[in-house]
Structures are given as C-alpha cells and as structure tokens.
C-alpha cells in the first residue's frame, strides 16, 4: 500500500509527474506507442490514427468546455476551418507540413476569437446556442464560397510530405500524428499549471467571483476560445491529411456532438478524461459493428448501424451525466485507488 509521496523541493512539488512509478508507467506507455505500429495490421493502425486525431481535438474542446465551462457545439466546424486551411494553402504554395498545420491552427484561432465575441454579452446556454449558429454559418461558408472551398464538391488534399516521404499509409501517418498529439496533450497539461489555465478554472467555477479576483473575463474567455480552436484547427489539419478529401458534409453538427460526448464520457475538466473519452468514443462504432455482426439479423447491417450508433451516443451522454458525471476518468481513479489501498480497504 502506498500512502503518499514525500516531496522535498518546490520543483518536485510542481512537477508534472512526481513519482518513480509514474515514470515507469510512462516509459512502458512510450514503448507500447513505439512498438505498436510494427505489430498491428492496417485496420488497427487506421483506428489508432483516427483515435489520436480525436484525442487532440477532444483535448481542445475540454479546454473550452471542461475547464472554462463554455459549452461549444461548434467544435467540428472549427476542425473544418483547420482542414480547409490546409487544403487551400496546399493549392497556393508548397509549405512544410508543420508550418501548414500551425497555419491551420492560427486561422482557426482567429475564427475562434470571432465566434467567442458573443461571450462579451452572453454566457452559459446562450453561448452554446451561439456556437450552433457559428457552426451553421461556417457550414454555409464552406459550401457557398465556391472559389476557395470548391463548394459542395469539396477539395482533395495531397498526402503530407515529410523529408521526402509521402505519408500516404496509416503506418507512415502514425509517426506524424502520434508525436503531434502528445505535444498537444503536454501543452494542455502545462496550460493548467499556469496563470492562464487557473484563470480558466476560476471562470468555470464562478465567473463573477473570478472577475472580483481580478481576472479579465472577456480576455480569458476569448483566449479559451482561441486556444481551444487552435487545437481544433491542428486536429482538423491532421484530419485533412489523413482522409485527403474534405467536403462541407465532413464536419456536421453531429460531429460536434460526438466530441461533446467524448469529453462527457471521459470526464470534463480532466486531461485523462479527454484521452479516455476520445479513445472510447472512437471505438464505439467499431464495437457496434462487431456486435451487430454477431446478432442473428437478416436485414442489411449497414442500414441499421448508423441509427444504432446515434442512439448509443445519445444514451452514453444521458447515462454518464446521470450516473457517472465525472466520467471514465473517475472510474479509472477509483480502480487506481482500489489497488493503492489493497488489501486494507476494498
């Protein structure tokens, strides 16, 4: 049984990971991440890439919704802005992948600032509805700004090229998306050790109190929108490189609900929550495919898959909010605690 960690310096107290056990587990995780692509088949690699993109995007939504308490139903549209930025830039000039991903993030960040402006006047549910409006307006722009976005036909994207290698298979793509997602997660973890991140949390807990304490509400809310959109933009850029074709229908409102489900299921206001939730939610359709395949139904399985998936997402949102509001992250923690305290307390 482990009862605590003795800390002898401030550095140690502030460290992101503070025990040797944690470092051991991290090393194990790193090894798994490195070995995985060599042992997995194409299907699992595809899923892993998709999962990593979703994790990065969910981490972004969690900054806005989980930590700052501003519900956004426009996250998918922001990803769309990032994806379109990558695609449009590619048509104009040949940039290194990292630069165009950063550009995607930056453009989306600007879009996020603009969408965040109503938070000048409204908050809570009103803001959530304003983000629906933003999502609709962006969708309109995607499908009607013919000359840039290619209208409803969408745009093709060439595979990302790093050091002369085209990242056109899941195996190759994995080596780009994995480090980027880890960087995004580290960035988010560090954000909440800084003044900015703590200001976000204060705003979530009670915005008026936060203002009294000297936090500029507007500035920090906009910043939260900006950072969250930056994440969405980068994830959207990765999405564009991964699927290589984008249309206005690639980023519907239901995809925003998908990400909202991810952070509710995983746990709002928790980095671990973003990871677990996005991973879980990415696996749900695959698990459903398996289950429906086993069931003795004669009907066309692809026909019932889509509605069943929608129902399951909805039920996950409702079920987790009612029975486990802190999400999978709390389940994980409970399990951890059980092993820490074993055998003295069950």
């Amino acid at each position: 049984m482990r009862i605590g960690t003795a800390r002898f310096s401030y550095r140690h107290d502030e460290a992101l990971f503070d025990t040797r056990t944690q470092y051991a587990w991290l090393a194990a995780l790193g090894a798994v991440l490195l070995i995985f692509p060599f042992s997995a088949n194409e299907y699992w690699l595809y899923l892993a890439c998709l999962m990593l993109i979703n994790i990065g995007s969910a981490a972004g939504l969690n900054i806005l919704t989980g930590y700052t308490g501003l519900v956004s139903l426009g996250h998918a549209a922001f990803m769309g802005v990032g994806a379109y930025t990558v695609a449009v830039l590619q048509g104009i000039i040949d940039l290194p992948v990292v630069i165009s991903l950063l550009a995607a993030g930056a453009v989306t960040m600007v879009a996020g600032f603009i969408v965040g402006i109503p938070s000048l006047r409204v908050k809570g549910l009103y803001l959530a509805i304003a983000t629906i409006a933003a999502s609709m307006i962006l969708h309109f722009v995607f499908s009607n700004w013919q000359s840039v976005t290619g209208g409803t036909g969408g745009l093709m994207v060439n595979p990302a090229r790093i050091l002369g290698v085209d990242l056109d298979t899941s195996f190759r793509f994995y080596w780009m998306v994995m480090p980027i997602t880890i960087l995004m997660l580290l960035g988010s973890a560090n954000l909440f050790r800084s003044r900015t991140g703590r200001a976000f949390i204060a705003i979530r807990d009670r915005d008026i109190s936060a203002e009294v304490l000297g936090i500029r509400l507007l500035r920090y809310k906009l910043l939260s929108f900006g950072i969250s959109s930056f994440y969405a933009g980068v994830a959207g850029g990765l999405w564009a490189y991964f699927f290589r074709i984008i249309t206005p229908e690639s980023f519907p409102l239901s995809m925003s609900i998908f990400f909202l489900t991810a952070i509710i299921v995983g746990g709002m206001g928790s980095l671990l929550g973003s990871i677990l939730g996005a991973a879980f939610i990415t696996m749900v359709p695959e698990a459903l495919k398996l289950i429906i395949g086993w069931l003795p139904i004669s009907a066309d399985t692809t026909l019932i898959l889509s509605p069943v998936r929608t129902i399951v997402y909805g039920l996950l949102i409702i079920g987790f909010l009612i029975f486990e509001p802190l999400g999978l992250q709390e389940v994980w923690r409970r399990t951890q605690r059980f092993f820490h305290l074993w055998p003295f307390r069950s």
């Binding site: 519900v71 809570g124 009103y126 309109f140 009670r206 509605p307 129902i311 949102i317 909010l321 509001p325």
Partner: protein, 294 residues
C-alpha cells in the same frame, strides 16, 4: 415594373404560415422552460417524433387520419412524460448546463430511434387538410399553408385559454412564477414538472403533424427545432408573447431571405438574427433580464 408585389405577398404569406408553426413549437419550448427551467434542445426532435407517430398510426397501422392524429397526440404526450421521468427528473438540482446536455443526448436518441423504425428516407404524410387553390387578393397561397396557418392559430388560442382557465394550467403558471410558494400552497411541483413535459410534447406533436402535412416528414426535420431555438431566444426564453411575435417574425424573415436571396440563405439569415439579438438584447425582446448575485 420594378418590385414584384404579388411575389412579395406570396412569399410573405408563406412566411406567415411557417412563422405560425414556429410560434406553436416555441410555445411548447417556453412551457417547459418556464416551469422546469430546462432549455430543451430536443424540441425539434420531439416534433419529429410526433409527426412519425402520426405517420405510423395512419400508414403502418392503417387507422383513419383523424384517429391517427388523436392517437399520436396521446402517445406523444406519454413519451414526453416518460422522457421527463427517466432523464430530466434525476437531474433536478444539477447545473442547467448538464441538463441542457442531457437534451442534446435525447435529441440523438430520438433521431436514431426514428431512423431505426422508419429509415432515414423522407416520407409523405397522408393529406388531411382540404385541397383547393386559395387567392388572397392576387396572391396565390398553397392551401396546405393556408389551412395549416388557420389550425395553428386555433391551437395557439386553445393553448393560451387552457393556461388561463384550466386548474392544471394555473398550477403550471404558479410554479413558473415561484416554485417554493407554489409548493407551500399545496401544488404538487414534481407533478407540474411532468405535466409541463406532457403538455409540451403534445403541442410539439401537433406542430409536427402540421409541419409534416405541409412539407413532408424526414428524420432530419429536427432542424426545424434549430429555428425554434432562435425564435425563443429572440423572443425571450420565458415569454409567451415573445414566442408568438418572434415566431412570426422569424418565419417572415426566413421566407424573405429564401425568396429573394436563394434557399441556402434561409438558415444563415436565421442565425445572423440570433447573433444580432444575442449581442444587442441577450435576454430577448420580451424576456426577463436575469440578475446575478454572488
């Protein structure tokens, strides 16, 4: 000849038709919000469910249309009560945002269920409104729209009267005004919560049947709910008058936008209005201003 007045009149009348339906659905929304404080994003999906229930009774079970409508309204109301009991009641006392997200989940579940039973392809509602060409002055009005508007106006009037004079309606208004006071006066507040969801679901069902009769039904008609959301925000979440005025106004503006600018501008116009309202008068035209204290 310049401006085409007949076309303008036709578009305006069609807009009024849609606007009436917005107002009716917005009424359902406001009833739920006033009595339980829940912002119900699933209102469009409840409307869709109602339309499909009617379709199911009339086509799949072969009932006569009037019977099917009554059955759909009853079953729709029961579904509303069930939704309240299973998903909203456990959330009493939680933050409004959590409850809001429950209704997001609810919307997904309802869409999925309807797609599972009736598939995603659009259907035609059996016709029950009289079918003859109607001219007001020179302007032609599709008869469905005309009678739809008449029925809507009638329904709105009935709902308003019911809330004014019926005992349950009075209890509902009392709860909306002051929950604690209503409780101490012997009003069973949890039952009022159920009641408000049942009534709202019934109204949504009626609206759904009318929307379906005018424009056909499909699982994506929940989008109608998004416009309704804009209506209630523009009118003020807790204002019945606001719902009626804003419903007609949004209906008109949408009709003008799609008539004069093109169909794809309809939804953009709606949401532009939404953002403008949020920036200028966040609590809506007739809503009560929220005062926050620490």
């Amino acid at each position: 000849m310049g401006f085409d007045w007949v076309f303008f009149a036709e578009v305006t009348l069609a807009g009024l038709g849609t606007g009436g339906l917005y107002a009716l659905t917005a009424l359902a929304f406001v009833i739920i919000f006033k009595s339980t404080g829940v912002v119900n994003l699933a209102i469009g999906e409840m409307l869709m469910l109602g339309a499909y229930l009617c379709f199911g009774f009339a086509v799949d079970l072969g009932l006569p249309i009037w019977l099917a409508i009554v059955a759909a309204i009853i079953v729709g109301g029961l579904a509303g009560g069930l939704i309240e009991r299973l998903t909203i009641r456990p959330m009493v006392g939680e933050s409004p945002i959590s409850t809001f997200m429950i209704t997001v989940g609810l919307a997904a579940v309802l869409v999925g269920l309807v797609e599972l039973v009736w598939t995603a392809s659009p259907r035609r509602m059996p016709a029950f409104l009289p079918d003859d060409a109607i001219f007001i002055g020179e302007a032609f009005v599709p008869s469905k729209v005309f009678y739809g508007f008449l029925v809507t106006a009638l329904l709105i009037a009935i709902v308003l009267l019911v809330f004014r004079y019926w005992r349950g309606g009075v209890a509902l208004r009392a709860t909306a005004f002051d929950q604690a006071a209503a409780y101490s006066m012997g009003i069973n507040v949890p039952r009022v919560f159920s009641l408000s969801w049942i009534v709202a679901a019934m109204i949504a069902t009626m609206a759904g049947i009318l929307v379906g009769a005018v424009g056909g039904i499909s699982p994506s008609m929940g989008v109608f709910g998004l416009s309704v959301l804009v209506v209630v925000i523009a009118g003020g979440l807790d204002s019945v008058l606001g719902a009626l005025v804003a419903g007609l106004a949004i209906g008109l503006i949408e009709a003008w936008a799609s008539g004069f600018l093109g169909g794809e501008f309809k939804i953009v116009a709606t949401f532009m209005i939404l953002i403008a309202v949020l920036m200028i008068r966040p609590y809506g035209l007739f809503g009560t201003r929220e005062i926050e204290r620490l």
